[in-house]
Point group: C2
Chain length 448, copies 2
């Protein structure tokens, strides 16, 4: 291994039993005890054996595609990931633990405390993927008639993160004294009310838990719209994105890294990690057969439903073997705008029918699919990593645990041989794995 | 052990490093790594060795007694207990896992999902202590100017529990088919929208996790006001209470059990478990010395602050060695009314000064203190258990882990010898430990 060579970051994106919409039908996915802890424990142990920077969970607050096919033919149940992270902290030692929690239907005080709790229990391994909730189905589960429009969601998210960071800082690192003799538990001059009062929130504080081990758990974001990019440049330390081509990924990378200066931040303070969906075979032929097998397992209704959800537009009444119909203008989409654009351009560019399009995106759900032998997979990751398109990748195995095992056993050693991925952990916190600085405390007076 | 003899239920009420306000100064409490998982892991292992029905955590969403003394001299930090439970599920096998979560500042969808997650991860061991939040300090952490008044809080709590139960029932027990061959994941006729719409909440559902292993996690409550008793009679399966004398406890027991019929419930479907604060010595003298040692460790300001919080009335300006001043009428107390009444009657009855009163309640915080040798402790528990005052007890060790070790090593064997506590677990779920039936699903059609 070349010393000092820059190394890629890797996230293990857990979705049980896999990222492919038909994963649950795959012979190498586990569906027995699909909500039991054993599945997650084994996946976490595998990811840690593979020296991944972190485990990552997406989330949502509603069943998707609520019609008959969605419930009948796809996986519509999952544990609450924030709750699950804490259990995974117990069965792992070094790997980071990141989960999604929405700023649209939560309270800053609760999320600040939950992620602080996980950071303490795991000795500094927590990460929070900050998202906004954009589906109507979620609004209806939280006593709202409709979901917030795009601008308001991001505005609320920005203020939400600000409040959470203040709460994490409300106890300075050295506030706890715990001196049994003198009876002094904490230094009250180092415990602060946050007195936040703005458009969305008014929060007095302090939080009722000490500052997290990492100062702040790592802040992750995924939005790629204009507001999303700006929020990320201001507050994110990791961005998960979805790009199909290296040129799109490079443009995004340049764009977001370029915005950092405006907020007084260095380039390396933000890691950009596109999602990749690896289909791995010992030969190219085997990889192609695997892909074909997965595509054939997709039920039609599920495929159309998934595509409709991706572009926030109902395609169920259109002929499945014809191209996409005329779609609304992107301005009128109150959903994930970037995802809409991505799918629409892919359909236009390659003149795909609805069926072909859902077969294409159903797997990786808009993320980049990479297919081939372990060497070919490593080549594709290395290319993006070394050409300004990515600081690392969020790995989305098509089926689990099989697909994660293959990546760890076949691809990770290849990346290690090339000197572009760690042989072992050198740090103990997620910040250390990612090469991110511990944030200063806004309440702390600097002694000169 | 007499077969068939009725046995008491025991909760291990975890508060690190103990229930006494000065516990953290006690030589046998652990304060190193006070937020690390190791402390909790060891306590959970001890409680499970002691065959407790469940571990229990209280909670609150603000630091208490925010002035200098509260922060300076008492323990004002704790992990989020719901998050913590999930980690404890991994290191235990049989013991129940219960935590407090407030209906005042949460959303039913989130809590339904979190407790369902813990129930799945623990194979049926979750319990939820349903509370309302009554402190001004909490309101100010959730963008509210003042907290809800007593009636509205209980009204919201009742509807909250109703929504949560509907969400737990939204997937019938046999909704999941997961047939890889036919491609049928779930039976859509067994997955239900809940379509709840009432005063406080409108929630469409279904939940995005399958029905909990226990049907519903066990519902616990603690309120003892009129509204609290009625809510408990309608919805609770366990009540934690605070009584100083057997006659008060018997009256409460009669009262609440008597209300069950109104809601079509049997007497045994609700377990009443008063809190007890055991000070255990190998001799009576040793127990008294331990008590004295704890009392002397209480700093004055902390004692007065604690008493003030208990009665929702600021006593800091009154002379500490005089009796309680004239207090407002109970009608005007917008806090825990029962606790107010309890403390006020104790002060009046025994003509205690503020100092004496805080020394008395600071330990058990209004709960019953029992002191003595293991045999005397067992006698006091047995007396209440056999005379219609309790179905079991929530044990609140003054300091931890020492006080829990003593209870498990010295008192539990004595209770087992008397045949009034289990020698080992016979069931695997918290419901089974407590002798509670698995609830029917409101959406399930009964086949005749």
């Amino acid at each position: 291994m070349q010393i000092g060579k820059q190394q890629m970051k890797l996230g293990a994106f857990f979705m049980v039993p896999g990222h492919h919409v038909a994963s649950w039908r795959h012979p190498e996915s586990q569906t027995d005890g699909i909500l039991s802890f054993d599945i997650y424990r084994k996946l976490a142990e595998t990811a840690e054996r593979g020296k991944f920077d972190m485990i990552f969970f997406a989330d949502g607050y509603a069943v998707h595609d609520r019609d008959g096919a969605g419930i009948e033919q796809s996986v519509n149940i999952r544990p609450d990931p924030v709750t699950l992270l804490s259990a995974l902290a117990v069965v792992t030692k070094r790997i980071g633990l990141a989960a999604t929690a929405s700023t649209t239907y939560n309270e800053p005080y609760h999320l600040a405390r939950k992620f602080a709790t996980i950071d303490h229990l795991s000795s500094g391994r927590a990460g929070w993927n900050v998202v906004t909730s954009s589906s109507e189905a979620e609004a209806l589960n939280f006593s709202k008639e409709r979901h917030l429009e795009h601008g308001a969601r991001y505005n609320r998210a920005e203020e939400f993160v600000e409040v959470v960071k203040k709460l994490w800082d409300s106890w300075e690192d050295d506030a706890l004294l715990i001196n049994k003799e003198t009876g002094i538990f904490a230094d009250p001059t180092k415990v602060h009310q946050v007195d936040h009062k703005d458009h969305w929130f008014s929060v007095k504080g302090p939080l009722n838990i000490a500052r997290p081990v990492q100062g702040h758990p790592v802040i992750i974001q995924a939005g790629s719209s204009e507001s999303g990019k700006d929020l990320a440049a201001k507050t994110a330390e990791v961005i998960f994105t979805a790009w199909q081509t290296i040129s799109e990924a490079q443009a995004f990378y340049q764009d977001v890294k370029g915005r950092l200066k405006k907020y007084g931040r260095e380039e390396h303070s933000l890691k950009i990690m596109p999602g990749v969906f690896p289909v791995i075979g010992r030969t190219e032929k085997e990889a192609s057969e695997k892909k074909q097998q997965l595509m054939e397992l997709i039920p039609e209704k599920v495929g159309v439903g998934l595509l409709s959800a991706l572009i926030s537009y109902d395609l169920s009444e259109y002929p499945i073997d014809k191209p996409l119909p005329e779609l609304p203008d992107i301005k009128d989409i109150n959903g994930a705008k970037t995802r809409f654009q991505l799918v629409k351009s892919l359909g236009d560019r390659e003149k795909l029918t609805i069926r072909q399009l859902y077969q294409r995106v159903a797997g990786a759900r808009g993320h980049r699919e990479i297919k081939g032998t372990p060497i070919q997979i490593a080549d594709q990751l290395q290319e993006w990593f070394e050409h300004g398109a990515a600081d690392g990748f969020n790995i989305m195995p098509p089926y689990m645990p099989g697909g994660l095992d293959e990546f760890v056993d076949l691809v990770v050693p290849e990346l290690q041989n090339r000197g572009i991925f760690r042989e072992d952990y050198t740090g103990t916190t997620l910040r250390e794995h990612l090469g991110l600085l511990r944030p200063a405390n806004i309440f702390q007076k600097i002694n000169v």
